[in-house]
Subunit: 350 residues, 2 copies
């Protein structure tokens, strides 16, 4: 009987840092989620927020896509609104309806009442999830921590949930910019502590989700989103963990997004990867960017689409991912076909 020393897979970290890689690493946003029957089995009879706050179960669902699909990285299972609740605003999370914040922020006094919480005290379960994952993974693949970016979190906090037009936060941005800047700054301080605590607990790379910043005009992005991305990314321990920044709908913002200082820009499917490479001068790693809806098609089309992306990515400074989160209706074999495309079609090896 031969004993193999298990290969440590740090492709994601090397790609993020712009170092040479043998192949393009791959993972999927929302990879721990409803498309997996094993996830749905755990969620049955359990509400979303309870799952986020039960380390044993959150660890289990975080590991599922690694075990079942063979992704090159594990992202901790959590929600971007966890630190918002810790700041003192009530958050209700139902996966079907999306987040609901029944007492949305609209006034200066509400902003003033928000805390900048110590994450170790206020959300100890997050740190426990990360420490446990780190121990379980034992370096086999990198562990990703994450947080929402200030503009995106402020949008949820002010709109009271998801939004089509983001009219409440924008109305306040235009009418009461000082109040909004005060809120954004408080969120930035919270997220800096939160991500540094994640890195301290064992996260080896972090992703900052400014998912809705793509709703802003370039001028508004420069005033209300970018400075806080820069503040967060400039204040977390980047020597220990490189940082990925995600924006959905980044079409006209990409050049400005690059000045955020992120190591990796995660972009949506509406920007061709080759154009993105050219527009960012090859100075950053790009993550993405298949339309998640392609994963609803056939393994063959997924394989050829992913292969095209990998070719466009040029074999370095590219992390294969979707342009947004994987959809709950995605067949598992299709998710696997996507991951296998990066791994050379070699099955879901671990």
């Amino acid at each position: 009987m031969t004993t193999f020393v298990e290969q440590k897979n740090d492709l994601l970290l090397r790609a993020a840092r712009g170092e040479p890689v043998e192949r393009t690493p791959v993972w999927m946003m929302r990879q721990a989620g409803r498309y997996l029957p094993e996830y749905r089995a755990i969620r049955a009879g359990l509400d979303f927020l309870t799952l986020c706050k039960t380390p044993e179960l959150a660890v289990e669902v975080s590991l599922q896509p690694y075990r079942i699909i063979g992704v090159d990285a594990v992202i901790m299972f959590s929600d971007i609104l966890i630190p918002v609740e810790a700041m003192g605003q009530e958050v209700r999370l139902t996966e079907q309806k999306g987040p609901e914040l029944p007492d949305p922020i609209r006034t200066r006094s509400q902003v003033d009442k928000l805390r900048v919480p110590d994450p170790v005290e206020s959300v100890p379960f997050v740190m426990e999830i990360i420490r446990t994952l780190k121990r379980e993974l034992d370096g086999r693949v990198p562990l990703i921590g994450f947080a929402g970016a200030p503009w995106t979190l402020a949008a949820y906090m002010i709109e009271g949930g998801g939004s089509k037009s983001y009219s409440e936060i924008k109305r306040l941005m235009y009418k009461e910019p000082a109040m909004i800047h005060s809120l954004l700054d408080k969120i930035a301080d919270t997220i800096i502590l939160y991500l540094n605590a994640q890195i301290e607990a064992g996260a080896e790379i972090v992703q900052l989700f400014d998912s809705w910043a793509g709703e802003l005009s370039p001028r508004d992005y420069e005033q209300f989103a970018l400075p806080y991305e820069q503040k967060v990314l400039g204040s977390i321990d980047r020597r220990r963990a490189p940082a990925i920044l995600f924006i959905n709908g980044v079409g006209t913002l990409l050049e400005k997004m690059e000045t955020s200082g992120a190591d990796v820009l995660s972009i949506d499917w509406r920007v061709p990867l080759g154009d993105a490479r050219r527009r960012t001068g090859g100075r950053v790693t790009l993550q993405g960017n298949l339309d998640p809806c392609v994963l609803l098609s056939t393994p063959e089309l997924i394989a050829s689409s992913a292969a095209k992306l990998i070719a466009e990515g040029g074999g370095s400074r590219h992390i294969l991912n979707l342009g947004h989160g994987i959809l709950p209706s995605t067949p598992v074999e299709n998710a696997r076909a996507f991951v296998d495309a990066a791994k050379g079609g070699g099955g879901s090896s671990q």
Copy 2:
């Protein structure tokens, strides 16, 4: 007592055709809508679809923004799903919840059953609205007709209403492209007849709404949206009516959008107008593109934002408009401030 001969205002038509104008013309998408108390008074106790189908009332609400705010053009009051109903698919319209199509198209046999209706027979009320508006306006300002573009209408028909991810139409696009092309082609034929009937009835310019084409990757846009925009725009009577094409989220599509053949490209607020001008080489007229949320701020900020846009527009080949429809929560005085900015701050003259 002096008698003035009333000035005919054809600024919009001249700007659309690239002819010289004394000042930038202005109108607003969804200008006949809920932000006007006079509109809400007519809607009270009346459902949206009934209003669309009652020419006397539809004419009245079409004229309201011209009388009350002083816009430079009147757009007929209707809904882009009116011809979809005429094709044989049930449509329920409630302004609050958005459109609902209870029997969404998912199969080839459903596509085959759809009609390409004669608009004069199937939606005579639309032609009556246009004829009446034309008579009432008597050339004082241009009359705008409109229709949804094939991809956007297909999205509603397949999703069964609005959508966040457009996953059903995209799934079918990828898995059954022939069926989707067949549907798109049938819609294109319907819209060609529909817009030509509007032009025949008196519409002097038409706007094609491909509102959700911005959800497509450039490659998918080229396959599933652009060819049908080209087909429609190439088959309607352009000698009698120039054409505007609107897409929301046009960031990475603008150069391709220009090849649609539209006289005017109506763009959202995420593309700076100066960049759009440069990217289209000054060959087309641009329409837009203030974030509708700016109209929730103050008359002063609206005036300065509109003035900036007018300056960026360069005084020709520009139609001032919003980047998407005006929001129902917009104060009337703010809508007026936007229009007045184009008219030199001179009140809501008619």
